[in-house]
Structure formats: C-alpha cells, structure tokens
C-alpha cells in the first residue's frame, strides 16, 4: 500500500518527497513535538500512477501545447476548464479506491467515529517554498466524510493544480506541472472552537522579539482568506508575556454546515462578534507552539493553528499548516538604548 500512506508511518527525512510540502511539514513538526492532526496521504506516487495509467498526462500535454506562449485570460480560463473537466471524468482505479477506503476506515476506528469528518488538503511538491508561494492557489476541502467523498475531494485537489491562477503562475515562471506533482493529505478535522494564524515575527515591521497571533471563532478559513477581521494579540517571544490584544468586530465565521456537509462561511452569531476570542493562557500556548516551530526550522514561520472544542488550559494547540514567513520590514530585535543615536534619529530630523 505505498500509494496511500499513514502519516504516522512517514519519516521526516522523506515525508516531503512522498507526501508533498504541506504533509512533509506536518510530519516534520510532529517529530519536533508539535501536535498535528492524524491522517493519511495519497502520495506523489498515487498522483503519478493515476495520471500516467489513465492517459491524462498525454491529454494534459496536448491541451497545454495548444495554448499560445502568452495566452489571454479567456484562453487560459478555457484551457483550465478543459483540463479540470478531463481530470474529473477519469475514474480512480479500484486499487487506489480500496487503499483510500482502508485508510479512512482505520482512521475512523482510531477516532471511534464511523463518519469521521476530515480535511482533504492539496500538498504539491514545490508548494509553499520560500521562493514560490502557492499559498491559497490549491484547494482544500473541510468537513468531508466517507471514502467516496474523500476520493472525489482528492480528485478535485489534483484538478486545482490546473486552475487558472496556477496555470498563469507556472507560465510566468516557466515551470511545468510535471515539476510539482500533487499529493493529497486526508487529515482528521479538529473540531475548532477558535482558529487563526500566528507569525513568529511581526509580519509588517519585522520585529523578531514578539509573536503575533490573529484569530477568530470557528475554523481558520475565513481568517486565512481574509473574509473576517480577526482579533489580534502580541506576545513577547522570550518570556511569552502577552503584550497587547485588540478585539475586532468579527462578522464572518467558518463553520460546519450540516446541510452542505462542508465547512462554509456564514454570518458570525451576534453574541460572538465583539467577544474576545483568546485568553492569556491560550495566547501563550499558541505563542509557545509557534516558537517551537520557529526553533525547529531555524527561520521565521507563520502557522495556522486550531484550538479544539475540548481543549482545556494546559492542553495542546493543533497546527494544521506552517510556512516560512515573508516579512516586509527588517526591524529585527530592538536597537539598544543609545542617547546619541536616538537623538540623531528623532531630535535632528525634519520628519516630525
């Protein structure tokens, strides 16, 4: 069963090669002592086998060949629709279906929930690298349940490799989809009370003495996609002391919708809009987790975190994703006090 692998069986050394960047980082973080969701991955090899054996590779190559060197948006969109349609038409082999069904059943059994909700996440290789950030371009599906839905969602993840933005991105950089085969992670869905993003440096000023935490109620999709203005807190990195906290008016929540059986966005319940999301203990726990991830990688990171509904004070913070962070400023650590240099900077400039 090398096409579909349990995360627990992956080694940090090979996880990225086998399961793509996103899954690779989860395995690395777990090895470094961070709590990440359990699950399995349709590995890079599953993608390669499916696309080669089904003839999709030739079909895709043909469609891409017919595109001019600098296509219009309309030409690009048309090509993308054709590619995605072709991928969705091809059935997955029974071998792969069986393997997925077996892993899903194992996961359900482990969690004692026969219709366990999962997140199906794209995990391309070459994705989320420091240089080429594909953040937000590839799809994730939250709230999936049952092996058949998992297969469909996985195929949709593969298809998102050929969305218009992904095509444009690769054309501009002169790279091929062959260079970034797409693994798909199937991870248990942490029942989120609150979620968000945290940065191991201030993302604007670049101050590296603090951890900045942004969060809202429910799942983190609304925060990640910028659909909600989250609460914002800052925590000192060296002593994990909460420094400041701003409660935002949060209008949108990502929530599990039983009707569509997905995590979707809806209006935030009125009583939660102005309510502070994180207390000091939670802020510190998140910051502590982010600090551990940063130390493990040795560079600044951003982290998508989730606090589960059953988390108690002192309990773990789940990390569902992390990336090297792109920072605008370069403030770093604050400059030590020096009367003359501060006088020079502020007393003798015409800037005020």
């Amino acid at each position: 069963m090398t096409l579909v692998l349990d995360l627990a069986d992956l080694s940090p050394d090979t996880a990225t090669a086998v399961g793509g960047a996103k899954i690779g980082r989860l395995v690395e973080m777990r090895a470094a002592g961070t709590v990440v969701p359990g699950g399995f991955v349709l590995g890079v090899e599953a993608y390669r086998t499916h696309f080669r054996a089904s003839g999709l590779d030739e079909q895709i190559a043909g469609i891409l060949r017919s595109l001019p060197a600098t296509p219009t948006d309309r030409q690009l969109t048309a090509a993308s629709e054709e590619l995605v349609g072709a991928i969705r038409e091809v059935a997955v082999t029974s071998e792969l279906c069986d393997a997925v069904a077996q892993r899903y059943a194992d996961l359900c059994e482990r969690r004692r929930d026969e219709a366990l909700l999962v997140a199906v996440r794209s995990s391309a290789t070459g994705e989320d690298g420091a240089q080429s950030s594909f953040a937000g371009i590839f799809e994730s599906y939250l709230g999936i349940s049952g092996a058949a839905e998992v297969i469909d969602a996985a195929r949709d993840c593969w298809a998102s490799l050929f969305g218009p933005r992904a095509l444009r991105y690769r054309l501009e950089r002169g790279t091929s989809h062959q260079d970034m085969p797409m693994a798909v992670g199937v991870l248990e869905l942490v029942h989120a009370r609150a979620s968000g993003v945290a940065f191991s440096v201030h993302p604007v000023s670049g101050k590296s003495d603090r951890i900045v935490v942004e969060g809202s109620w429910g799942w983190g999709e609304a925060v990640v996609q910028g659909l909600v203005t989250p609460d914002r807190g800052e925590v000192g990195k060296s002593d994990l002391r909460p420094l400041r906290y701003t409660v935002a008016t949060k209008k949108v929540i990502s929530d599990y919708d039983p009707a569509s059986r997905r995590v979707t966005e809806r209006e935030m319940p009125a009583e939660l809009q102005e309510t502070r999301v994180l207390d000091d203990e939670e802020l510190q726990a998140i910051a502590d987790t982010v600090r551990r991830v940063e130390r493990h990688y040795g560079h600044a990171v951003d982290v998508e975190w989730v606090l589960s509904q059953d988390r108690k004070p002192g309990g773990p913070v789940h990390v569902v994703q992390s990336r090297p962070v792109t920072v605008e400023g370069n403030a770093g650590q604050p400059a030590a006090w020096n009367s003359a240099s501060f006088a020079l900077k502020y007393a003798f400039q015409a800037s005020r």
């Binding site: 101050k207 060296s238 006090w337 009367s339 006088a343 020079l344 400039q349 005020r352």
Partner: protein, 585 residues
C-alpha cells in the same frame, strides 16, 4: 507652492529712533541680531512669545546674549547636526526668530559624528554639571546682590553694569549648554517610545511629578493664602485692588500686619523674580509685589486651597501608572531599551529642568542690570528711573564712562518711549510668522518649545480662511476636558483678570504665569509643544491644555465660551462674546 508672508513692512536699517547699530557692540557666534532686509523673506521667522509687550533698547540685550551668543554657541559646541542655533530680526520693538540651518551634507554628517561623542558624555555628567553651573550662577548672584549700589560713583556703576552684563551672558551660555542636550535626549526617548508603539500622549507623564524650585514658590504663595484665609483677611483682600493692597493691609493692622511680615519674609526668599522672562524692563516682586498680592487675592476667590501635596501625589501616581502600563505592552527586549532611556531621561530630566532653571536663570538674571540702570538714572538726574533702559548698551556705556552727558539723550528717550508704546499697540495685529513657511523645521527647541510642529505650520499656512472657525486643533499637551469663558491675554500683567474656572488663552506662557494654573479650568496657547511651559505646568496641575493652536488669540475673543479637549488637542468655540445671539453649537 510655498506660502510666503512678505517682510516689506519691517525692512529698515534703523532700530529705535536715533540708533543705527555697529555690529561690534555685542558678541555673536554665527550670525548677529539685526533688522530685516528683503533677502530674509527666503527664511522662516516666527514672532517670539517671550516678550509680548516688546523690548526696550536695553531689553534687546537678551537677543544678543541669549540667541546670538547662548543658542549659537551651544548649537556649535554640542554640536547640533543640522543647525547653528537661533537668530533674530527686530520689527519695531518686537522680535522674530529663525533657525540657522546647516545645509552642507558632509558638514551635517561631521557634526553628527561629534554629537555622537559629546551627548552621552554630557548626559552621564548632567547632575554634577548642573550642580556646578547652579553654584556658579548662585555665586555671581550673591556677589552682585551684595553690592550697595547707592554707595557707588557713576564710573563704579559702569563697572557694576558691565559685570552684571557678563553674568547675564554667562547665564545664557549655561542655559543653552544644558538645554540642547537635555532636549535632544528627551526627543530621542520620545521617538524610541513612539517606535515601540507607546501612545505619545503618555510619554511626558513618565517624567512628571518631580518637585522644582518654581513649584516651591507657588507652594509658599498658597501657604500665605491659607494664612490670610485663616486669619480672616479674606474681606480685606476682596475689598481692595491688588495695587493698593499693601497700603490697605498696613492700614488694617493686627493680623494684617503680621501677615505682611510673613509676606516680606516670603519675598526675601522668592521675590527676586520678574513678571516675565529675561526682560530688564520688568520689576521683581521685591520692587513691586502687586502680582504676588494679586495672586493671593484671586486664590482667595477659590472655595478651597490648592492641595499641592495631593496634586504632586497624583502626578507621581499617574507617572508610575503610565510607566507600568507602557512597560507591560513592551517585549522584554524593548523593556531594556525603555528602561535605559527612561533612566537616562530621569537622571537628566528635561521637563523638570525646563521648569526648575527658570528660578536660577530666566526670572532673575536681568535684575542686577536693572538695579544698575535705575541707580545710574538716579545719579545722572534722569526724569524717570526707567529712562536709562531706553538707551542702547553702547550709549549707556558712553554715559557711565563720562564720554557723553545723559542730558544729550533726553529728547531721544522721550521719542523712544513713544515708539515703544506705538509698537506695543501694534503687537496684537502683527503677523505670527514672516517669510517662507517651510514644511518642517529641524531645531528641537523650535519644535518642542516654540511648538513649530506640523500643527502650527499648517495652521499658519491656512491663515486667512479662519472666518468661520468653530473647532481649532493643536497639540494635546495636558489631558482632560473643560468648558468655560475664555480670557484672551496678551501678557502676564493681565493675569489678575482671570477668574477661577475661566480658560486662559494666550500666545504662550512662561514661569510667571504658573500661579494662574491653580485657578484656571484650561489653557490654550498659540505656540508651544509638548515641552513648552504651559504643557509641563498643565500636566503638573491637572489643567487640560492645548498648545500650538496657531491662531487661538486671533480666533478666540475675550469672553467667548470655549471647550478645551486636552486629550485630543482640540478647542471648540461655542458662543461668541461679540455675537451673543448666535445659537450655541
């Protein structure tokens, strides 16, 4: 397009009637003091708030010793990287000041390099340096004060006058030698705080609540008020004008006589101060105690005594709370920067010094020269004791050296007094600024003390369309809100007009205005930054204060009802005194 206010109406080569200066009669460091010429229009000049009445010929000495010598020497010595200190032009009897900019980039860099070496050295030694300088000033003062001028011949009075001037000049060397580095350090700390996300309105609080010599005087004045109230003298004070108060108290006898004895004891310690900064034309409280008696009279109008201990305790508590709150929002690394900067500013505390030094320098250094000119007037048989201050320094030296007779100047003195009165009347309508209004100025004294910040510059650029101004904005200098009747004053002489609960509106305040802060509800100034006198005293007394409003004394009329928001830096004019039918907004 830069806004230019023409200088033409002030272009002349004559000062007061009958005097064309030669540049060699007073020392200067970079640029001498003179009248306007057309080329000055390219520079930026602002009217100096220190002398709202104008200066007499002898009074103009301050421009020479303070600005042309003191500021320029200090700016060259530290040095200030982008500036060589302050220069001035005279318009009639009034002074406009401007910064002297360094324009060469290499030179600015070279000056910065020297400042980087000198400033930390100065700050480390501040306490000792200020103690030594205070001692020096005290030593000069004690010596000059000990001389019995009535025993001196005219030539000896000339010697005394020259020495008194030397003291004056030395005092202002010290003044700016201390002021520039202290201010630069404070502004640097202020910048570091804002960079760390600390609310700018909190920063001045970190350094408040330290007792000064000036506050000591105010406390003594309130002690006298308490005693007057306690011994039933309230009615005597209420029934008489401040000018006739001493006579009335003497006539009353009994408790009033006892009180006057204590008042005279007070004057012997705190009475060597003038009702205005550094002006030879102004008497000390010893010479004319009317201002002090007037203060006691208006203090008695307040229902209760000003509780200095409580106010100081409040200021200290507010300081400690503000420091704790600011520190708690900083990372550990930032706290190290903050703690070091705060320690440096507490050890060399600019806001504290800015009040304290006035006792030692600004309020008394012109007195020995004044005594000399008065005694010279006596000896030469002048008609009035102030005739001699209507001579310029070189003219008066000619008199004391026997080169010219004073009688030769009598006609000129008459003309010059008329000239003074003429310009005194013109003051209120004179432009606040002249020349080319810049986007920004670089000298920290001009920004923080004179308040030539972006608020002020914008306000003066927008001058002319103030016809319907309802809300004015400026620097939020001391927090809190108060509403009341505006008293628009042009100088400290009129302070007795201010009733408890009213709002003081003026060009700017100086230490002699301080006692008024115990009775006013709020204060609004045309000029002044967060470190101006009004801002510092406003915070110590808990009086909402807005500075750098630009045109407050023009837009607000005496008697208007106004609301001052010292937290947000706004002043709202509700009901115009001269348009009583206007509906309050």
């Amino acid at each position: 397009m830069a806004t230019v206010v023409p200088v033409d109406e002030f272009v002349t080569d004559e000062w007061y009637p009958g005097f064309k200066p030669a540049l060699d009669h007073a020392g200067w460091v970079v640029e001498p003091f003179r009248t306007f010429d057309k080329a000055d229009e390219e520079r930026f000049w602002f009217i100096d708030f220190h002398w709202p009445r104008g200066l007499t010929p002898m009074g103009l000495i301050w421009n020479e010793d303070g600005y042309s010598w003191g500021t320029q020497l200090a700016a060259e010595s530290l040095p200030l990287p982008p500036g060589r200190g302050i220069t001035q032009r005279i318009a009639g009897t009034h002074t406009y000041a401007a910064a002297i900019d360094v324009t060469d980039e290499w030179e600015i860099g070279e000056r910065a390099r020297r400042m980087m070496q000198n400033l930390p050295r100065f700050l480390e030694n501040f306490e000792g340096t200020w103690a030594e300088r205070r001692e020096e000033v005290e030593s000069w003062w004690t010596h000059l004060h000990s001389v019995d001028l009535r025993s001196l011949e005219l030539a000896e009075l000339g010697g005394y006058l020259r020495k008194a001037r030397q003291f004056h000049k030395r005092a202002f060397e010290i003044h700016f030698e201390i002021m520039y580095p202290l201010l630069a350090n404070y502004v640097g700390f202020y910048g570091a705080c804002t960079e760390m996300g600390i609310d700018p309105g909190e920063i001045a609080k970190f350094l408040q609540g330290y007792d000064t010599k000036i506050m000591e005087t105010d406390r003594a004045l309130w002690d006298l008020t308490r005693k007057a109230r306690g011994t039933g003298l309230g009615e005597v004070f209420a029934a008489h004008d401040a000018t006739g108060m001493r006579a009335a108290l003497s006539a009353h006898g009994g408790a009033a006589s006892t009180w006057l004895t204590e008042f005279d004891d007070f004057l012997r310690v705190y009475g060597y101060r003038t009702e205005g900064s550094c002006d030879i034309a102004l008497p000390s409280w010893i010479e004319d105690p009317t201002p002090a008696l007037g203060m006691v009279k208006t203090f008695l109008l307040k229902e209760s005594d000003h509780d200095f201990e409580a106010a100081l305790a409040n200021a200290v508590e507010e300081r400690e709370t503000a420091i704790d709150a600011a520190r708690s929002s900083l990372s550990r690394e930032e706290q190290q920067v903050f703690d070091a900067g705060l320690a440096s500013c507490q050890a060399a505390n600019f806001p504290w010094w800015q009040d304290d030094h006035n006792y030692y320098i600004d309020l008394r250094v012109s007195l020995p020269m004044r005594w000399a000119t008065q005694q010279i007037a006596e000896v030469v048989g002048a008609d009035a004791s102030d005739d001699t201050i209507f001579l310029f320094w070189p003219e008066l030296l000619q008199v004391v050296d026997g080169e010219r007779k004073f009688s030769e100047f009598k006609g000129l003195v008459h003309d010059r007094k008329q000239y003074f009165d003429h310009w005194y009347e013109r003051r209120a309508s004179m432009p606040k600024v002249l020349g080319t209004i810049p986007e920004a100025v670089t000298d920290p004294i001009l920004i923080e003390i004179f308040g030539l910040n972006s608020h002020f510059l914008k306000a003066v650029q927008a001058a002319g369309d103030d016809s319907d101004v309802k809300t004015l904005s400026g620097v939020a200098a001391a927090r809190g809100t108060a509403r009341g009747i505006a008293r628009v004053l042009s100088n400290a002489d009129e302070l007795h007009r201010v009733q408890p609960g009213e709002i003081l509106v003026c060009e700017s305040t100086s230490p002699n205005w301080t006692p008024a802060f115990a009775k006013i509800a709020a204060c609004v100034c045309d000029g002044g930054g967060t470190l101006s006198h009004a801002a510092i005293v406003g915070r110590e007394y808990g009086v909402p204060t807005v500075t750098a409003v630009g045109l407050a004394t023009v837009v607000i009329s005496d008697g208007d009802e106004v609301e001052v928001d010292g937290t947000n830096g706004t002043v709202t004019v509700f009901k115009r005194a001269d348009r009583p039918d206007e509906v309050p907004a």
